[in-house]
């Protein structure tokens, strides 16, 4: 998993029906000092984030299974809201 910052939302009415009721966030990858690395993703948001939130996210096949009962067609999924980073 890696760190990110939510910087916006994406609304898409016409999309794969497996993405129904899945919020889509624009998220930039950040490092341990919360500095953007320049990479940005549209991430499935499973925890309900707000702009500016620091989050951690997972990519790859594991990103398709945040929900126990169904898969979602996502390769980047936000799975946690960061309270504090102790470095």
């Amino acid at each position: 998993m890696r760190l990110g910052r939510v910087i916006g939302k994406v609304w898409a009415t016409v999309k794969d029906d497996q993405l129904d009721a899945v919020k889509l966030a624009i998220m930039e990858v950040v490092d341990e000092n919360q500095i953007a690395t320049g990479k940005t993703f549209v991430a499935a948001d499973t925890i309900g984030t707000r702009d500016g939130d620091i989050v951690f996210w997972v990519s790859g096949a594991e990103a398709t299974r945040p929900f126990p009962e169904r898969y979602i067609p996502s390769d980047v999924t936000i799975i946690g809201l960061v309270d504090t980073l102790d470095t």
Binding site: V58, A61, P66, P68, G80, V82, D83, L85, D86
Partner: protein, 92 residues
């Protein structure tokens, strides 16, 4: 697996259920000569590595499920799977 150095930890209250009660560490990748490189990984630590430890990080969901012996499907990839004692054979 990759070599990494534990630089700290992350506290998160709102997160996926499979991360409950799990220590979540921040690990920077290092070269075999222990030079810290770009990027940072968020890794579940079941082993109890401390800040500054050189560790082994596996980033594959199936391995994570084995280690966390979970029945449900889990969005977990990076796991600290070992603490390195020494690295030999890496010439100057």
């Amino acid at each position: 697996m990759v070599l990494g150095k534990v630089i700290g930890s992350l506290v998160s209250t709102v997160k996926h259920s499979c991360y409950q009660n799990k220590k979540i560490s921040l690990v920077k990748p290092v070269s075999p000569r222990e030079q810290v490189q770009q990027g940072v990984m968020v890794a579940v630590d079941l082993i109890g590595a401390r800040k500054g430890d050189i560790v082994l990080v596996a980033s594959e969901g199936r391995a994570a499920e084995e280690l966390m012996n979970f029945s449900c499907r889990m969005p977990v990839r990076s796991m600290i799977v070992g603490i390195v004692d020494s690295i030999d054979g890496v010439d100057g």
